[in-house]
Amino acid sequence: MKRPGLLRAILGGLAGGTAGGALGSLGATLGAAEDTDPFLWAGVYLFGLVGWLWGVGALGPWFAWAAGRIDRIAPEHGAPGVRRYFEFTTDHKVIGVQYLVTSFVFFVVAGLLALVMRVHLALPGSSILDLHTYTTFMSIHGTVMVAVALISLSGGMGNYLLPLMIGARDMAFPRLNALSYWMLPPAALLILSSPFAGGLDSGWTAYPPLSERLPLGQQFYIFTLITVGASSILGAVNFLATFLGLRAPGMSWSRVPIFVWSIVAMSIIALITTSVLAATLIMLLFDRLFGAAFFDPARGGDPILYQHLFWFYSHPAVYIMAVPGFGAILEILPVHARKPLFAYRLVVGSFLAIVVLSLVVWAHHMFVSGMPEALAGPFMVLTELISVPTGVVFLSALGTIFLGRLRLVTPMLYALGFVSTFVVGGLTGIFLADVPTDIALTQTYFVVAHFHYTIMGATIFALFASIYHWFPKITGRAFDERLGRIQFGLFYLAFNAAFLPLFWVGLHGMRRRVAEVPPETIGANVVSSVAAFLLALSVLLFVMNIVRAWARGPRAAANPWDAHTLEWRVASPPPPENFRVPVTVVGGPYPYGLPGGQHVMPEALE
């Protein structure tokens, strides 16, 4: 109890929550609120979150520092072994694994919700869930998956790899990094509690006026996203400060691994846009709690204002999800194609072009919203323009594998699978960017299919590719390659069988977010539902492979893939301080095929 840890965190959360609930109720009563419950639960969450963070050890040293009781705050590497993954440690490698495992758990939870939904939709009469329950499950599935897509690759692999890849010992702000992670479990708990608080009938987008009238579950959604957003902003600050200040000598901008560039680009987007979402949700909260009128047309407000502000963040958000995926794939392809990354500088330029363009395309989500008609044309053009830098990713991927010497190991298969999947996602995006077709297709299952192809194609395929590729580095063990290939094959086929029919279903009149299937689409929906179960089976195979390998797989070498980037130059797993000797970068990160080509000196860093 005296030592910070998970137990103390839980107790701290409970104590804080109780105190917060009392304060919230008291405040509401004093302020003569009609309904004190929302204030009570706001208090429970906010103080519970602080109590949890204090209990796990995130806050104490900062208070001691602020009170002038200590000069410097030391890093905390945590106990050796599995225990440190359940503790507050400042080691970016531990935090990266914490992010990966936690986000994967929630990926599975949200996936299970989707399976229930697909069962409901596949059975005749669609009646295993009532409308409200279906809508709540759908909303939670969407919200949790959005959060998973935002944090799994960037928080997981980004945290693990960025300092290693640039030759640094840790991130610029290791404690802040840990704080970013530890904010997340309470947020997750909150959104998953919403079914017990009246549910969530407004989707992951929470448009008012509906979201202003729904019960407490809507408020849980608001606080969850604000928390995830805050975590994301702190992470972005950390990544950018680390990139700017901690690169090893000789690592000029043209020698930075492409995955690092993708994290930098993602962080710029997150830094600029996430606060706008927070502000928007706060306005929604104020409308709900304090009778504000931001989105209430009867009192001068405007529901369309919400949409502008929401999408100003939420469109760039998909690039926060996708760009690290691009970076991971383009990092993996050269290694297994034994060829340099094709058009490296053009790709970096494209990432930056995506950053800029992503900020000015949001209203393509609003073509039929009632916004001024004159806005549609410009947003259509800008949205279509973003295909140009995105297309460069394909040029690079294909240019890298063409004429290579491909080793079709599991991570490579996933990287290639990304190319196949994301092209479908990207091309179908054009149908949605084009106003004449968007009017017909928006809010139908065509959109659902599109974003599953893009987000799963870019983020989830990249996540699987990354986990397989860097598994030997992170764990020091090797996974079962044969099972990996089988798992990939099942995943790729099941994914396409589950989502390809949904384009057709959308074209034939099935709306999004509905709990019933139009009769003419029953067959396609059944195919999709069956495939969803096969997809789940493939994920199960993945978990089995990884867990078994982690526990007792054969030992892996330090550099089993024979790659050049810095993380492969240290032991598997790396020592706590990453590098035991100073590192100097002398060339690009992909010197494949160059006799005597070197990225880094000295060669042996152990």
Binding site: A67, A172, R175, L246, I272, S275, D287, F290, G300
Partner: protein, 191 residues
Amino acid sequence: MSSLDLAVPHGTAPDESDGRHVRTGMRLFIVSEAMLFAAFFAAYFYLRGESLHWPPQAAFARPELALVSANTLLLLASSLTLQRAHGGGLAWRRWLGATIALGSVFLVVQGIEYSRNAFTVADGVFGSTFYTLTSFHGAHVAIGLLVLAAMLQRARRGFLAPDSAAFAAASYYWHFVDAVWLFLFTTVYAL
């Protein structure tokens, strides 16, 4: 080379308060905070643009300009005292204390202004935008005061010098909050 030889001159960050990164980190964070206020201001301009009159209900007079102008000068003065503290010299901590004092008075005056207003947050979009913008600004002032107080405390214990990176970062934050107020004052109160 011993594996314990961790004091390598190249990019490694042993601890949080390492100066090189705190300034950059705070500047980056301010970008995010600026966007937070930008969103609130965007809502304000959008809703004001959609209203025929401002304030929409004539009964809501805008707050007294005199009091608020005085408050603005207080906040501006606090930025000046903070810069003076950075200049060093024997009494630099007193200038830091003065900054905290001025900022605190600002908040008190803001509270007085709130109590005199004829409208609440529930009074249409005027009340909503006004109180959201000013209360978020006030919250940022409060946080800034806590940060400056921590700086003063560390200075008293000898852990902070006028040119410390943490102190510089805290000042960026304070000046940012002041700048937001200037914009707020001009758009919400004056115009």
